[in-house]
Symmetry: C2
Subunit: 693 residues, 2 copies
Amino acid sequence: MNQPSPEHARQMANAIRMLAVDAVEQAKSGHPGAPMGMADIAEVLWHRHLRHNPANPRWPDRDRFVLSNGHGSMLLYALLHLTGYDLPIAELKAFRQLHSKTAGHPEVGVTPGVETTTGPLGQGITNAVGMALAEKLLAAEFNRSADGVDHTIVDHFTYAFAGDGCLMEGISHEACSLAGTLRLSKLVLLYDDNGISIDGHVGGWFTDDTPKRFEAYGWHVIAAVDGHDPAAVDASLHAARAQAVRPDGRPTLICCKTVIGMGSPGKAGTHDVHGAALGAAEVAATRAALGWTAAPFDVPRDIACAWDARERGAAAERSWRMRFEAYRSAFPDAADEFERRITGRLLPALADQLPSLLAAIADRPQALATRKASQNVLDVLAPLVPELFGGSADLTGSNLTNFQGCVTAGRDRWGNYLSYGVREFGMAAIMNGMALHGGYLPYGGTFLTFSDYSRNAIRMAALMKIRVIHVFTHDSIGLGEDGPTHQSVEHIPSLRIIPGLDVWRPADGLETAVAWVSAIARQDGPSVLCLSRQNLPRLTSIGQVSAIERGGYVLSGMEGAQAVILSTGSELALAMAAQARLACEGIATQVVSMPCTNVFDRQSLAYQEEVLPLALPAVAIEAAQPDFWHKYVGRGGLVIGMTRFGESAPAQDLYPHFGITTQRAVEAVRRLVHGTAYAEAARSAESVVLEGQ
Amino acid sequence: MNQPSPEHARQMANAIRMLAVDAVEQAKSGHPGAPMGMADIAEVLWHRHLRHNPANPRWPDRDRFVLSNGHGSMLLYALLHLTGYDLPIAELKAFRQLHSKTAGHPEVGVTPGVETTTGPLGQGITNAVGMALAEKLLAAEFNRSADGVDHTIVDHFTYAFAGDGCLMEGISHEACSLAGTLRLSKLVLLYDDNGISIDGHVGGWFTDDTPKRFEAYGWHVIAAVDGHDPAAVDASLHAARAQAVRPDGRPTLICCKTVIGMGSPGKAGTHDVHGAALGAAEVAATRAALGWTAAPFDVPRDIACAWDARERGAAAERSWRMRFEAYRSAFPDAADEFERRITGRLLPALADQLPSLLAAIADRPQALATRKASQNVLDVLAPLVPELFGGSADLTGSNLTNFQGCVTAGRDRWGNYLSYGVREFGMAAIMNGMALHGGYLPYGGTFLTFSDYSRNAIRMAALMKIRVIHVFTHDSIGLGEDGPTHQSVEHIPSLRIIPGLDVWRPADGLETAVAWVSAIARQDGPSVLCLSRQNLPRLTSIGQVSAIERGGYVLSGMEGAQAVILSTGSELALAMAAQARLACEGIATQVVSMPCTNVFDRQSLAYQEEVLPLALPAVAIEAAQPDFWHKYVGRGGLVIGMTRFGESAPAQDLYPHFGITTQRAVEAVRRLVHGTAYAEAARSAESVVLEGQ
């Protein structure tokens, strides 16, 4: 690619610096330090190495670029603007303003060319690992030879920028350790080693020998590169790319020594330049120091021309499209499948065969743990959803996330399953990266309690509206002997309130199947499946599939119902038993199963009223923190739940210990129906939570 | 200490093995693999090095021991039983049963001698870092010389066991990197390198060069120790202890190569032995292979005698107490202060001076961000609470967690503040370790959104009932331009439902002060302070202190109130403005400030009814996910909140954008009072959440 003169390279980098400075100054908010410090590196990578097409940010085989230090967003916006993406200067002028395409941190789906939303440190690196993994797997799956010709349609790099903050975060260990083990050689991480974080010089809290650390992970490390010497950066990128194609290729870390805020005569090298506008005087001084005479937001024509990557990008994509057409000629089915996989459409066969699959599941009468039911579902769905890419954070045999015929991916082996190791957060953010890359629908398992570890990555998936599926098993005190450290109490309600996340807690095999199908069919966000360790009886039948799909439904109605009993998952059987006992006493009730409150909330008001009539008092029973359920049962309704942490004991001892019983549900309905509770106990939200001694 | 013969050492280790095997077999649940694999290491550490007194698990200068791989709990229970703690064999026979002292994972407060609750991997190591840090700081603060005599009253080691899982977890990177930087030389980590995790041999997912990794952190690493050779383990522990006292001493990692399930002829070295009972036949085979002829739960007398550490422990503590009395003679005030600090009592001066301090705060009329108000409170409280140990995950200048005269701790410098680096989870679990050690009351800051990263450690603090304080600033869309990745939406309600955690969201300076004092005074659990980035007006006065302390109170009542307006933090001013506007229309309302729902829930029902009369319709307004508030406003009440993620824009643009406005509150009350909403809109919980376009 183009090799600009040193002076030209400097001016190109300065264009980034000044756009960042001017935009932050205009917004009076933002982070100029990282864009100024990394401008020279960015010039080399984006101008001389990155293969991308500004006119088509969705070209499947583009190189991926991740700004893991997302607070340096103006670096990326400047690059996108300069290289020719649909990000006009007016957007840069509206940096960090409402409805602009230049949010405070880069957001995928908002700004063309942004590959992932970054800001929460460490996750960008991890998304990049996921992208590099997806590339490697897709290449193994789709690239092939015919008649002595190599048809290579998947072959791109993933580049990431990261600062000290990303490397301090624990998730960087999880992701980079795994990337080393898997030898993701086409991953190149450029470390902005500027020695400054928000509290000041990092020497007081971050003294890692980072090259040595990454060598310990099995990375190819290029240490001590001057990040302001374009020739040195260029050479290191060439070295990274050269070793990537070697049989023993490894991911590359390029450690670039830089000065934060480079170009600002008064603030460079200090944390003052990290996260605040320079101020008018220092902006002027910076202009002078850089010899930059153009007005704010103006880029001299020759610099702008040099940056413009549209022609080069179009040519690169054209060349790939020709290769893809040759591939299509040789392997028409594979070409179709590749296109389907990249666009995320489901195989038509899934819809065709679904009714009979569900009918078969509904026909099985035996009690099953929903984690086992989930595995059964995977066994039948996996052949119809070949984009599924499973895994577990070292709990495969407990989560039952593997399926018949699944292949575990390894260093030199394609697979559609991964043992992520004990790395919950890393797994979740790698899954996000794979989903963003395209070609795979990732799901991964751990115990529900450890959703805490990965929580922010789940949130990020919801914010990015991407399709990943979390399989969280051992979802309550039903887990038993492992005790309170492993028993979720607050997790289900706390996941339900993450905007855009669908949280399923199915009660039996059929609800589990519907949950899986809904999660797979959902195109605009992540889903969570909360599954039981212990066996649960069959409660639903094939006629209820469309009701289950609505997230909440009347599982068992009765003429003249006087109260609603609302439940989910492992407690639904208790609700059904309570209904039967109450019926003997002449109290008619309506049992509502609510496997996914998020989906239920999207139903019409009329439907919701039908399921949960406002006129009826309601009891909810769920082995989880109870506060959430007042949304549906009101202040006067009764909730049977867990207001304390669990205990270590067999599950059958814990349910009575905590009062999560049929008897309690019966008593609660009696109190409501006979009016003793609804008026009095309801005086306090606390008092209407029932629990054992 | 005692140096047993090789054969005797082997038998002592086998006692651990068989107690673990028998207990897991009896429970039909548990993890025999790690206790069997680490038994030889445990014999060497506990019998030959650990300084502890089984009769007094609270002796302040005991060595600390942390089983970070907490699933191997039977290892610890066996050790506690054998060395003479109050853990009779009957408790081991009741392993993992309800009300036993032998929970599935070790729990502090349940079992004498357990120093921290472990199970969630990686956190035990991190607690140990916190304990070692507390030891180093306390030693610097209290040890002193007089008349040429060194009075050393704080001088102990912290030992931790960890497996592959702990070292894969990201938090191990955060904790061990910081421990290296701080040169916590009296921390010794024994790594059980057995090459097996639950998914099988770790070679497929964990290939770190762990010695090299820890060298990169600046640790003293002893690699390639045979974990079944007591002499080798003994030598490595001597080496660790010897270098700990050198001026350049570093924390030590001892890498012990072991065989998981060592002793089980059929299952050793496989993941089958990790987490399940061996089964009767294999138990018998193990007995035979080990030459262990004693009955289940029986330990031959000579082995039992060899293990009994009570006499040695009593002597060790006696010796320390003599030193402490000499210290008391030389430094009576320091001795009193040390005892106060270790027991966790507050200085009487705090209570004495509190009224005047609060009055002074109440006298300040100016608008302040509650994060700034928090810093003001720290400035006046810190001298009265010298056990406060502050810090931030690299956001000191944003969290405003530092205070006048605070000293930042460093490698060779005592301090009462720490820049933890960008390590939220590590910070939280280190704080837990410091609180468990005693002597300090740790608090630490980050942005509220990143409470996600540390969430499980917050949960663990609540489970352990320990006093730590989290200062989470930038608590809502008021954060502004940094955008949705940094704006909390679901975090406040999701923290409120962690059992045992008190979540404060103060509305002004005085509420902030009361929140701080309540958190400091609380002896049985952690607290969270959610604080604003932006300025908030003064709303409360000195007469309301005792009301604020109740967590929820009528801030502004009106004769004949027709509705309640409930709010917290930065939205309370909107509620007050709505009350004023409604009053002009002739609608009387009662404004309730609810800075801590958890504390409010502990008030009497009569008080709760007074604050939130069941007869009055209610509106809640909070810039957070709204579902939680139905607990107080019922299904028919109206909640003005955030059902979507935030946006990147100035705060003053975001509030109207999301409809978090006085006008919305006014309209909501009108709807309730005029009856249009309470009956109709209330038909669906969804419909009663108001939000902007």
